[in-house]
């Protein structure tokens, strides 16, 4: 059980003040091989999930998009192509190592995407600024998810969309296989490919501690979003939630 000042860090319970530092350590450790591991862990599916998120975002030319916990910049790159020269995409991450990878990649691709290190629970942007805010595989690492969602809602324009792409609750008949994969194979792959079994153990545990589809939907409604709907991808291994600011 977590108390008022404690929170989850995978299956462990830690002080709230420690979580951000511990998550930062995990991502500092995996940053350089993050994409390789993502490809191996999801058999390349994470690219399709991200493309799907962009395709249902409704983002068009001239729109302003905020990519939270954007890390290696996959989504920012896709959104930059959608918004064109008249639009704006801002890549943010709390972790400097991950953000560095994303920023370099944007520069290499010749894209003018500003990279900004900031905490999603205290976004340094004015109210009603973005047409779309997206957080992909980042919400579960945040200490106060409710505060982060409220901040995302704050910076959205009326009619703007919040998209949350995150691991979720898998279809029940597949849960045993998925558990075996996450807790046995995933740390082993982390050990072999990134030489960091512990970080990947945390990734697997944090996925299990993350709210399921309906709970996250309710959290988004509580944060002030409406018409919240979700898509189960890969039998619920991942879910894409979409809500509107009205």
């Amino acid at each position: 059980m977590t108390t008022e000042h404690n929170t989850h860090f995978g299956f462990k319970t830690v002080a709230e003040t420690e979580k951000a530092k511990k998550v930062a350590d995990v991502f500092h450790s995996v940053a350089s091989k993050y994409d390789l591991m993502n490809d191996v862990m999801s058999a390349g599916l994470h690219r399709g999930w991200k493309r799907f998120a962009v395709s249902v975002s409704g983002v068009g030319t001239g729109d302003k998009v905020l990519d939270i916990a954007g890390g290696s910049g996959d989504l920012s790159r896709l959104f930059a192509q959608k918004v064109g020269a008249s639009g704006q995409v801002i890549l943010t991450d709390i972790n400097a190592s991950m953000l560095g990878v994303g920023r370099d990649r944007m520069l290499d691709a010749g894209l003018n995407v500003p990279a900004l290190q900031c905490d999603a629970e205290k976004l340094p942007f004015p109210d009603q600024y973005f047409d779309c805010v997206i957080v992909a595989f980042g919400l579960r690492n945040m200490t106060h998810k409710d505060r982060a969602l409220a901040e995302m809602q704050r910076v959205l324009k009326v009619g703007g969309r919040l998209l949350v792409l995150e691991f979720s609750k898998v279809w029940q008949p597949l849960s045993k296989v998925y558990d075996a994969y996450s807790f046995k194979l995933l740390p082993l792959m982390g050990k072999l490919l990134a030489k960091d079994a512990e970080s990947y153990q945390y990734l697997a545990e944090s996925i299990r501690m993350h709210p399921d589809q309906e709970t996250l939907k309710q959290m988004m409604i509580d944060a002030g979003l409406s018409k919240v709907d979700y898509y189960n991808l890969a039998a619920g291994v991942v879910a894409l939630h979409k809500g509107y600011k009205t």
Partner: protein, 201 residues
């Protein structure tokens, strides 16, 4: 995976039919359930006027229902069939979407040209159009030939003018029967009011 592919396909078609986005944009955020023959799916209109498959918990604003027989008639471009499409909920939204779908065309030559180049794509397009026209013409000829055979040589089908003549005769007969019925009623009433005097026999 299927949602992703379907959404990409829809958005590709809409990108080819750029006139559709401004028509759909005013309905951004709304969704429509399509029950076409045995397939049922929900579509959501996006803010850029594009379309995507709706999520798991979507509540549609409108429903369009097309039965399998109606679908066949629509495919043969039967104009009267359009009037029979069932629309529930936000009819304005459903009508606009139905209009977009009925006028949307797949420019397959454009897609093919990216794979094989412009000239071969154009030639393949020409050949396909010619093939489709030939198949249509042959089918029409065959149907005409068979109906003629079954009407003239081995009568199994009635000719249109015979059916019309028969219908007209049925109408005349029905009118005659009605008139006769009215006359009988009138005579019965007269008979009841003035019963015949047995002494007059």
């Amino acid at each position: 995976m299927l949602k992703g592919l379907s959404t990409q396909l829809l958005q590709h078609l809409l990108a080819q039919n750029a006139w559709a986005a401004p028509l759909l944009q005013p309905f951004a955020g709304k969704s429509v359930r399509l029950n076409v023959a045995l397939v049922s799916t929900s579509l959501v209109i996006l803010e850029n006027g594009s379309l995507a498959i709706a999520g798991e918990t979507n509540i549609p604003d409108a429903t369009i229902t097309i039965s399998p027989s109606l679908l066949l008639r629509l495919m043969t471009k039967d104009e009267s069939a359009r009037q029979q499409i069932r629309i529930d909920g936000d009819t304005h939204l459903a009508t606009e979407l139905a209009k977009v779908f009925s006028h949307m065309r797949w420019d397959f030559e454009d897609d093919l040209s990216k794979l094989v180049g412009d000239v071969p794509a154009n030639k393949i397009g020409e050949f396909s159009r010619h093939a489709v026209a030939t198949v249509k013409e042959t089918t029409a000829n065959l149907a005409g030939m068979l109906s003629e055979y079954w009407q003239e040589e081995k009568p199994m089908l009635a000719k249109k003018r015979h059916i019309e003549q028969f219908n007209a005769e049925v109408d005349i007969l029905r009118a005659d029967v009605e008139r006769l019925e009215k006359r009988l009623n009138k005579l019965t009433k007269l008979n009841t009011a003035n019963p015949p005097n047995p002494d007059n026999r």
